[in-house]
């Protein structure tokens, strides 16, 4: 079983190494994300949102839906702590 796991992991490792050779180099100016998305944000974010900080414009405006989900995750984590911890504390006291 362990040998099989190692074999599968090794096969995936080789697959990833092979796939990695096709990725653009880090910082390559001709990479697909830098050809059409990056110039669009750099040129368009200030006229469109009047926000000099491109990161903030992308975070809260262009990718606002994503940030809404992140915020909901944080809020849910807080609610889960409120629900679970008092119960765990009470159980600890009883023992």
């Amino acid at each position: 079983m362990k040998a099989l796991t190692a074999l599968i992991l090794g096969a995936f490792f080789l697959l990833f190494v092979y796939a990695e050779s096709d990725l653009p180099r880090p910082g390559d100016p001709a990479a697909p994300t830098r050809v059409h998305i990056t110039p669009r944000y750099i040129e368009g974010s200030f006229p469109e949102t009047k926000t000099p900080n491109i990161v903030t414009a992308v975070l809260a405006d262009y990718r606002g839906y994503d940030t809404l989900g992140e915020t909901a995750v944080i809020f849910t984590a807080g609610l889960a702590v409120m629900l679970i911890l008092p119960r765990a504390l009470r159980r600890g006291k009883r023992q």
Partner: protein, 144 residues
């Protein structure tokens, strides 16, 4: 945390520092438009000021001023602000989170989007602030 020993120096430094920490947190939230900062970071700084007060003054006194229930209310209000900013444009025919269509007649598209970002960052800041105070209170274990 029970039976906290009141120390004049710790008390004084905490009381002196907290207003500046909170002003700086508001600055970080509102300065997200122009530099590093934003709701997540500012909310963390606000929560840190509350935690400093709880550690320095003792929890009983601090819970009277800002209870864990109030922290939960702050976090819930923050996420409601975010959802409201997303849902309001639907009233004027926009799509969800399309700040340019917020129903504020005296502002135009880009200004509205800038304002929408500020509103949303404020909501994020409140959620992070409230949630971190909740985590602190419940992990310390003072809440029954």
């Amino acid at each position: 945390m029970r039976g906290i020993i009141h120390n004049t120096i710790v008390d004084g430094v905490a009381r002196l520092m907290v207003p500046f920490i909170q002003i700086f947190a508001l600055y970080v939230i509102t300065h997200g438009h122009y530099g590093p900062g934003g709701g997540f970071q500012g909310g963390v700084i606000l929560a840190a000021s509350i935690m400093l007060l709880r550690l320095a003054m003792g929890e009983e006194e601090e819970h009277r001023r800002f209870s864990p229930t109030a922290a939960a209310a702050v976090a819930a209000t923050g996420i409601l602000i975010y959802f409201a900013a997303g849902l309001l444009p639907l009233a004027t025919g926009g799509v969800f989170l399309d700040y340019a269509r917020e129903p504020i007649p005296w502002l135009q598209g880009p200004e509205l989007r800038s304002l929408g970002i500020l509103v949303v960052e404020t909501g994020v800041g409140m959620v992070v602030w409230g949630t971190l105070v909740i985590l602190f209170d419940y992990l310390i274990g003072s809440e029954p």
